[in-house]
Symmetry: C2
Subunit: 456 residues, 2 copies
């Protein structure tokens, strides 16, 4: 007999995964290696350890170990907000009148407000274990900076965040959350780094960019004894840590004997999507099960749907290793969009390779249709979603409506990565009917793509 | 053998209480009745039903029925965010180095961000059942207005919120959350009501007050067919609905065989405190157990610790019924404080009577010490608390530190009513070291208290 599915499936504490899952281990064709930005040769652990701390460099390069033990200290931290609930969206199903069963894995139930905390605590922990004094990073929308501030505060580690100047000024609340957690937040470009001073001189009055903030954070880490740089997305180590999302989601479904048909996640750099789909993609790779995996990206920044699969720089400043990925070109500047967390020119190399192998499909959606879905969801499900997460909501609703037409009872699972409390300017624009959509032309995309690095 | 206590105790869905508990039923000496503001005689159900909907008027006046069934529709809504977790504050205990066991009942895990939703959905439901078109209310800090907007949106009920003008302008994000949920938000005083126009004429450029907003909301309800006024605190019906907080907390403790020594809640109008302590006070009243119950209020608005127990108006406009309560006088204007939800001149009549009978003690704390506690809590427990909730955190930490001195292993439970995402201006002031404390002088308090209504 089928067990009645509760509104929220909470795993018990002891059911929380004890290991992260590295999907690369099950890939016959591995993602292409990271390249040293100076030599264009595969980067070594030693080279990478100058930027990242040693243990993370190891995780980054390891594509054969399937499972990594989650250290007890990280598990203890996870216990403050995990296992996160897998919610059956009964109210949304009723609102849509669909026979589909909709579930979402909710990662917004912690102060950082998003899934970013899963990797932030891991990266901060390994930095602490290495005896480092602190870490540096950049933040745009602010979710990653917030998460890292929390994690560092917990471990008593110094945290220096370079926040894109326009966000620093337009999102004062994000800044204050980070300060409340003891982080030092510097508007970028700043006068505290060489690259920052240079940019300020060259472009007086500039409000900054993510690319510039990355360059400043990397420089700041390199110029201080006992510091390393950390990053909240794109990297394989991040996807490894975020696999806890998918592992818990799968465990919760298994507990009630539910088989998912479709897994949907929003995709910027790929940290949430990669983490969510990892165990499901693993089953597909091992030939154990089949799922429809869907990445959803904003039409303003369509790296999977309209980008090129090639080696590219991960940052605008070209100081980080190169990765083979679906990219729009590291010089591509996405039009202003409220889903700041999805405004990245490239995509995780693991997600890119899975996409290239056909395990994953991708769709792009416009901003206004995303906010329309967000509002519908908020009103019936009682959670105010982040604009990023709402990309997944939109496609989940589309799929549920298709089921209504065909009468199919598909089981749809999507990732609700975070809450929208700090995105109310965007909601205001939508409420006021003045939100615009941005879809780059082929010509616009061609410009940045023409400047990809020439890698043999 | 003692069961290992997890970080978060989640009750199963089927363990969620099916009834609200009305502590008045167990009180030998009942709270004094509400009085008709025109006749000063105990108000009747019919009179009260002109302001509130019928079922809520009944609940308001019923001081003998101990348990009220929670309607299935409300239970279904509760299931979207309840049972809420009872969290064992292991990290805070470690940080303080205390032998005390600290637990908090966390009510911020829903989009409204606070416990207010527990009563909002109940009040909206009974309005819907009565066939009403909509409800009106006022909001200051915005937690109640947000909660009511969500509840009304869910039930497809019109929601009109009169928001104190200075909050409307200073808290645009709160306003946008309400609009996202479809509420009509009007800055008060407005030109849409008689009382609003009168106040605007009398005090050009005024930024409004809670008292004025209440008067506008009551007038708006009375002047539209099929509308009633609703209120988020102070009332006995609200305390009834909020009893779910205490019932769940007690069920969670019982599940692990834990006996609380001390229950601590912040107190503005008494909705959270009353709900949290209800079942514990009930046991005390029936002679079954003993607890130390502590109300925490801001030193800027010390109704229990420095007020008078007397009949007073619940609103500044004097249109609502009178209640016997601990009050600072309905004309008392608390100094600006960031804990907007605690800036109320009076106190729930049930909480007041329990306090008068000695079942409850009270303490007042200053703003800066509250934010200091909030920051410590946020850094180790990973939840950014609302300023209101942080009043309880402060006293819980004080008590835990006393245990450290005496070596006692007391079990401390406090109510964490909500999150501080919309209170970052206050955190900013604290972070910048420019937050001030407000403690009224005896002379200042005497002014408003001298104007209490003369009731026989």
């Amino acid at each position: 007999m089928e067990k009645k599915i509760p509104y929220k499936i909470y795993l018990e504490e002891h059911e929380m995964p004890r290991q992260w899952y590295n999907v690369r281990a099950d890939m016959k064709k591995k993602p292409a290696p990271l390249l040293n930005p100076e030599t264009f040769k595969p980067i070594t652990e030693d080279e990478l350890s100058k930027v990242f701390c040693r243990e993370l460099a190891k995780q980054e390069l390891d594509d054969t170990t399937a499972y990594f033990d989650i250290p007890t200290e990280i598990r203890d931290f996870y216990k403050m907000y995990r296992p996160s609930p897998l919610v059956r969206a009964y109210c949304l199903e009723e609102k849509l009148g669909t026979p589909a069963h909709i579930y979402y894995k909710f990662e917004g139930n912690n102060t950082s407000g998003s899934h970013k905390l899963n990797s932030a605590i891991a990266q901060a922990y390994y930095a602490k274990m290495q005896g480092l004094k602190g870490v540096t990073t950049e933040t745009g929308a602010g979710q990653w900076g917030t998460a890292l501030s929390m994690a560092c505060s917990y471990l008593d580690l110094d945290c220096q965040v370079y926040m894109v100047k326009c966000s620093y000024e337009q999102k004062p609340f994000r800044r204050e959350v980070m300060r409340t957690y003891g982080a030092k937040v510097t508007p970028s470009p700043s006068m505290t780094t060489e690259v920052g001073r240079k940019i300020n001189e060259e472009f007086p009055g500039t409000t900054g960019s993510l690319g510039c903030a990355i360059s400043e954070a990397v420089e700041a880490a390199g110029s201080q004894e006992g510091y390393r740089y950390v990053l909240g997305s794109v990297l394989s180590q991040v996807m490894l840590h975020q696999s806890i999302i998918g592992l818990e989601a799968k465990a919760a479904l298994d507990k009630y004997g539910v088989k998912a048909d479709m897994i949907i996640g929003c995709a910027g750099g790929g940290s949430n999507l990669g983490g969510l789909i990892s165990p499901f993609a693993g089953e597909m790779l091992r030939g154990e099960a089949d799922y429809e995996l869907i990445a959803v990206e904003p039409s303003s920044c369509p790296s999977l749907t309209r980008g090129t699969y090639a080696y590219d720089y991960c940052d605008t400043g070209k100081v980080c290793p190169l990765a083979k990925m679906y990219t729009l070109g590291s010089g591509y500047i996405p039009s202003a969009s409220h889903a700041g967390g999805l405004r990245y020119h490239g995509m995780s190399s693991v997600v890119s390779e899975l996409y290239d192998q056909g395990l994953l499909t991708a769709r792009s959606v416009t901003q206004t249709e995303v906010f329309e879905a967000a509002q519908t969801f908020a009103r019936v499900e009682g959670i105010l979603p982040a604009p990023e997460s709402s990309h997944a909501i939109k496609v989940a609703m589309d799929e549920a409506m298709k089921c209504k037409e065909t009468g199919e009872t598909k089981t749809i699972v999507f990732g609700l990565t975070g809450t929208g409390y700090f995105d109310m300017y965007a909601y205001q624009k939508y409420n006021d009917g003045v939100m615009e959509n941005f879809i780059p032309t082929d010509e616009e995309l061609a410009v940045a793509l023409s400047k990809l690095p020439k890698v043999e």
